[in-house]
């Protein structure tokens, strides 16, 4: 059985390490580790969906985070009902010249999603992911 977790001493350093399957955590190199004591893990602290604009999402952080945005498109059926298209999540965003851009202003206090976007006239939903990674 390969040892994959250390909570304690590894070499001359104390901390926590988790290795990939098949690698001995005592000797694993950096690219063979899932978690080590000295490198921050990219983590999500918030996510959600915006369906109407403009919308303010409170953040309440002390520093500017990294925010990832993508979108989905709703198609309008002939009977007037909307349904999620098979386009899935688009990235990058916004998309192409034919899309009315949605912009977002990010501060430490909040995110403001301005003017509703569209895709060839179809309404879109904007999905955001806020990372625990500062941008300043």
């Amino acid at each position: 059985m390969t040892k994959r977790v250390i909570l304690g001493k590894r070499g001359s350093e104390y901390g926590i390490w988790v290795s990939k399957p098949g690698y001995n955590v005592q000797t694993a190199t950096n690219d063979q580790l899932l978690l080590n004591i000295s490198q921050a893990v990219d983590q999500i602290i918030m996510l959600g969906t915006i369906n109407s604009f403009s919308t303010v999402v409170p953040l309440g952080l002390s520093v500017l985070p990294y925010v990832f945005i993508n979108s989905t498109v709703f198609h309008q059926s002939t009977d007037g009902s909307s349904y999620l298209s098979n386009l899935g999540y688009m990235r990058p965003f916004p998309f192409g010249d034919s899309t009315a851009n949605t912009t977002v202003i990010v501060t430490t206090a909040e995110m403001v999603f301005n003017s509703g976007g569209s895709f060839f006239g179809y309404p879109i939903s904007v999905h955001y992911v806020v990372f625990r990674r500062r941008t300043t």
């Binding site: 909570l7 104390y14 901390g15 926590i16 978690l35 004591i37 000295s38 490198q39 921050a40 893990v41 990219d42 983590q43 999500i44 602290i45 996510l47 959600g48 969906t49 952080l61 002390s62 520093v63 990832f68 993508n70 098979n86 386009l87 899935g88 999540y89 688009m90 990235r91 990058p92 965003f93 998309f95 192409g96 010249d97 034919s98 999905h127 992911v129 990372f131 625990r132 500062r134």
Partner: protein, 156 residues
């Protein structure tokens, strides 16, 4: 004396916290966190590359669409999960070593759109399209698209 950098247990801002040297694992600053047990780490679901063939030098002025015809099945396909996807591309014969975000198009100007789509089951190439003059040197060359898809995050 070694300051503790790992905290496990109730109280504090998270039941499990790993922090930078000198930081307080009970209530660390934003930048001092190595791992926070309350937050979802970004995990790679799958990654790969797709070769998209050249369209050749156009004989007549026409619009070209860049896309790949075979969607890439997702190894973990289930409805209701949000995924993150990112992609970059390069031209192996024209600009090896130069990587581009998809959105910039190819050296032809007037391009539109582009990107990668992910639904519950597949990853698709999204049409990048542009109108190219007959005989233009800026025809759509063969490209390679590298993509990475992350697992769903928290339940939404």
């Amino acid at each position: 004396m070694v300051n503790p950098r790992i905290r496990i247990g109730p109280g504090g801002s998270s039941p499990f916290m790993v922090v930078q040297p000198g930081a307080n694992p009970a209530n660390p600053n934003f930048d001092d966190i190595i791992f926070n047990g309350n937050h979802m780490p970004l995990r790679v679901m799958q990654k790969g590359n797709i070769s998209v063939p050249s369209k050749g030098i156009p004989q007549v002025t026409s619009q070209f669409n860049y896309s790949w015809s075979s969607p890439v099945p997702l190894v973990y396909s289930s409805p209701g999960y949000r995924r993150l996807c990112n992609c970059i591309w390069y031209e192996p014969t024209f600009s090896p070593g130069y990587w581009f975000p998809w959105f910039n198009g190819v050296n032809s100007g007037g391009s539109q759109g582009g990107g990668v789509l992910v639904n519950d089951y597949y990853l698709y190439g999204l049409n990048w399209h542009t109108t190219i003059q007959s005989g233009s040197a800026f025809y759509p060359r063969a490209i390679v698209v590298w993509y990475i898809v992350y697992y769903n995050l928290v339940g939404v």
